[in-house]
C-alpha cells in the first residue's frame, strides 16, 4: 500500500516539477525529500521501489534528451547514479531507525509486562502451586491462550488457560529431549527450565508474541517461583521436623525425670530391706536383685536424659585431664560382666592422657561398645585398642560380622539411621553412633568408620581425642 502511495506522490511531484520547469538538481532534491517521507512511513521495499521510480522520472523528464531513458552527458549519468545511491542509503538508514524504534517500544512494553508478572508472582503465597494458578499472571499479562509448566522435582504438570493445541504434550517432550523450540504453525513456544545447570522442568506457551524476547525471561520467572516454593516446602518440613524433635527430646527428658523419684523410692526400700539382719539368704538375694536392677534402670534413665540433652546440644563438656585408658578400662569391665568377657582391651601406648569430659567419654565408649555387641556375630570377640595417632589418642573398636556396606558408610552417623543388617536382628534407637560422634566433636576429636577389619569382615570405628598441647611437648599444662 505504501509503495502505491509513494508512486502516486512521485507522479504528482513529477507533474508539478515538470510544469514549473525545475532543473535536474532542484527536481532531485524534491525527490529526495519525497524518499525521506516515504521511508519514515513505509517499508524498506516500498521505499526502494519509490527510489528507483524517482530515478526513472528524473531521467525521463529532467535529463537531456527529455522523454527518453537515454542519458547523453556522463555528468548526468553520474548525477543519476549518485541520486540512486543516496536514495537507497537514506531509505535503508531511515528504515533501520524505524525498526530500532519499534523494537525498543516492544522491549519496553515487554519489560513492563514482565515487571507486572514478577510483581504478581511475588504477591502469591510461597506454597501456591495448586492447579497451576500461579501461571495465571503469565497468561493474563501476556494475553496467552494457555501456559503449561512441568515441574520435574514434583513430577507435576501445571496448566493455565484453554490449550487448543498439544501444549502439554509438547512441554513434556521439551523436557524429555532437553531442548525447547518454536512451532509457528500451532503458535507454541517451549523452553527448558534449568537451575544450576541442571534441567528441572519445562515451560510451554501458546499464543506468545515476540517469543525471542519474552520466552526466556518468562521461563526465568517461572524458575524463580518454583525455587521459592521448593525452598518454602523444604524449610517448612525442616521446621516441622526440628519442632517434632524438640518436643520428642523434651518429653523424653521429662519422662526420664519422672522416673527418678519412684526409682529412688524403690532403691531406698530395697537397700533398707537388705540391711535387715533377720532376712533369709534367699530374701536377701531378692532384695539385692531389686536394688541392682533398679539402679541399672536409674543409669539407663540418666543415659537417656543425657542423650536427649546432647541432641538438643544442651550439654557443656567439663574438660579436664583424664587418663582415657583408665576410664575405658572401667567401662570395659562393666560390659564384660554382662557379656561373658567378649571385650578385650589393648593399650598400645604409654601415656593416654587427654583433655576431655570423663562422663562424656564414658558415654561415647558405651555407645560404641553397645553398637559392637549388638551388630556383630553373637559371642564373637570385640577388641578395643588405645593408641597414639599424631596429636590424638585413637580409640578403636573392632568387631566381626555384619560388615557395613559402602553405601551405608555415609549414613550410619545420621540420627535414627539403623543399618540394613541391624533392622532385623537387633533392637536399637539409631541414636548410638550419632550421639557418639556428637560427643567426639564436642570434645574436639572425631569419630569415623575405618575400612573393614579385613579377615574378620566386621566394622572398625575410630574415636580420636586430642592430646593437650602441654602433654605433646612435655611442658606442664595449665589445666
Amino acid at each position: 500500500m505504501w509503495s502505491g502511495t509513494g508512486g502516486l506522490a512521485a507522479g504528482l511531484l513529477t507533474l508539478v516539477a515538470f510544469r514549473l520547469h525545475l532543473s535536474f538538481i532542484s527536481a532531485s532534491f524534491c525527490y529526495l525529500l519525497l524518499l525521506v517521507l516515504q521511508s519514515l512511513s513505509g517499508e524498506l521495499i516500498s521505499s526502494a521501489i519509490v527510489s528507483i521510480l524517482a530515478v526513472g522520472c528524473l531521467d525521463y523528464f529532467f535529463v537531456e534528451p527529455l522523454f527518453s531513458f537515454q542519458v547523453s552527458s556522463p555528468l548526468d549519468t553520474l548525477g543519476l547514479a549518485s541520486f540512486l545511491i543516496t536514495g537507497l542509503v537514506i531509505t535503508r538508514l531511515v528504515a533501520q531507525v524505524r525498526i530500532k524504534t519499534e523494537s525498543s517500544r516492544l522491549q519496553h512494553e515487554n519489560l513492563k509486562r514482565l515487571y507486572d508478572v514478577a510483581q504478581q508472582m511475588l504477591a502469591l503465597e510461597p506454597d501456591a502451586t495448586g492447579g497451576g494458578n500461579f501461571l495465571e499472571p503469565f497468561r493474563q499479562v501476556f494475553e496467552l491462550k494457555a501456559v503449561c509448566l512441568f515441574d520435574a522435582a514434583r513430577s507435576e504438570l501445571y496448566l493455565a488457560g484453554q490449550a487448543h493445541a498439544d501444549l502439554e504434550k509438547k512441554t513434556g517432550e521439551a523436557f524429555i529431549h532437553g531442548r525447547g523450540g518454536d512451532d509457528r504453525s500451532e503458535g507454541i513456544t517451549t523452553q527448558i527450565i534449568r537451575v544450576g545447570g541442571r534441567t528441572t522442568g519445562a515451560i510451554g506457551f501458546e499464543g506468545l508474541k515476540d517469543q525471542e524476547l519474552t520466552a526466556g525471561p518468562l521461563a526465568a520467572l517461572a524458575v524463580a517461583h518454583l525455587e521459592r516454593t521448593h525452598s518454602f516446602a523444604h524449610a517448612s518440613r525442616a521446621a516441622a521436623t526440628a519442632q517434632a524433635e524438640s518436643y520428642r527430646s523434651v518429653i523424653l527428658d521429662a519422662l526420664a525425670h519422672e522416673f527418678k523419684t519412684p526409682l529412688s523410692t524403690i532403691l531406698a526400700a530395697a537397700g533398707a530391706l537388705r540391711e535387715i539382719r533377720s532376712l533369709s539368704p534367699d530374701h536377701r538375694e531378692m532384695a539385692e536383685t531389686v536394688e541392682s536392677e533398679a539402679a541399672r534402670l536409674g543409669r539407663l534413665t540418666t543415659r537417656l536424659i543425657r542423650t536427649a540433652r546432647l541432641e538438643r546440644e544442651e550439654v557443656k563438656p567439663w574438660m579436664e585431664l583424664i587418663d582415657v585408658s583408665s576410664v575405658i578400662s572401667d567401662t570395659v569391665d562393666q560390659y564384660n560382666r554382662s557379656t561373658s568377657g567378649r571385650i578385650s582391651l589393648v593399650r598400645e601406648c604409654e601415656s593416654t592422657e587427654v583433655l576431655a569430659d570423663r562422663e562424656l567419654v564414658r558415654l561415647a565408649v558405651s555407645q560404641l561398645l553397645d553398637n559392637a555387641c549388638k551388630y556383630s556375630t553373637p559371642g564373637s570377640a570385640v577388641t578395643l585398642s588405645i593408641a597414639r595417632q599424631d596429636e590424638s589418642i585413637a580409640v578403636r573398636v573392632l568387631s566381626s560380622g555384619n560388615p557395613i556396606s559402602p553405601n551405608e558408610k555415609n549414613k550410619i552417623f545420621d540420627r535414627f539411621y539403623r543399618g540394613l543388617n541391624g533392622r532385623h536382628t537387633s533392637h536399637g534407637s539409631g541414636l548410638g553412633l550419632y550421639v557418639a560422634r556428637k560427643i567426639a566433636v564436642a570434645l574436639g576429636g572425631n569419630l569415623d568408620l575405618e575400612s573393614e577389619s579385613g579377615a574378620t569382615r566386621g566394622a572398625a570405628f575410630c574415636l580420636t581425642l586430642p592430646v593437650p598441647e602441654g602433654e605433646r611437648s612435655d611442658v606442664p599444662a595449665t589445666v
Binding site: F259, T265, A268, G271, E275, R303, V479
Partner: protein
Amino acid sequence: MTSPQPFSVLVVDDEPSLRKTIRASLSASGYCVAEAGTGGEAVGVFRGRPFDLVLLDVNMPGMSGVEACRQIRALAPRTGIIMVTVRDAEEDKVRALEAGADDYVTKPFRFRELIARLGAVLRRTRMDIDASGVVQVGALKMDLERRVLWKGDEEIRLSPKEFDLLSFMMKNQGVPLTHLKLLQAVWGSDYGSELEYLRTYVRMLRKKIEDDPARPDYILTEPWVGYRFGNPSDPDQAARPSEQE
C-alpha cells in the same frame, strides 16, 4: 552407761511414698526421723526443735528447697544439710551449696550412698581439729601449725598457695566444695571466676599427692560444681555413684 542418743534427721520431700520409705529405712538404721512435705513446713518444724541432719529435696512446690536450705542454715549453722537433686542440674547443686548445704545426693540414689553421705556430713559437722593441729586423711598427714605435709613417711613440699588450698580441702573432707568457695577461701573474697587458677593448682597438687594423677583418689572432680576431698581408705567412698553401664 547409757546408749548414745540417735541422730535426728528431718526428711523434706513432696513425694509421700519416697518420704515414707526413707523414714522407714533410716529408722531401721538407727536414726530418729521426722518428715515435712514442703519447704515452708520444714522451716516451721525446724523452729520447733533442732535436728542433726536435714535431707531436703531441691524441687518442691511452694518454697523451693534452696530457699528452705538458706532459712534453715540461718537458724542452725551446725546442722548438716543434704540436698536431693537430679543429675544434669548442676546449677541447682551450686545454688544449694552456696545457700549453705553441706552436700547433695542425686536421684535415683542407693540407700548405701545416702547413709554414706549422712555419715560424712555428720563427721564433718562434728569434726574438730585435734589439739596438735594435725589432719589425717588416708595416707596424708598435714601439720597445720608447722605447714608440713607427709604422705606415709615421705614429706611433700608444697608452695604456700598449694598448702592453703590442700589444707582447706582436707579440713572439709568428704563434702563438695564449689569453685567459688575454694577461690574465696584461698585467694580472697575478690576472687570467684578465676577457674584457671584453681585448675592449675589442683593439677599440680594431684601430681604431688595422688598415686595416679589421672585417676585421683583424694582430689575428686565434681563436674561443674567444684571438688570433693576423698579418703581412699574410707569404705564409704566406694558408695559414690557410678555412671558406668
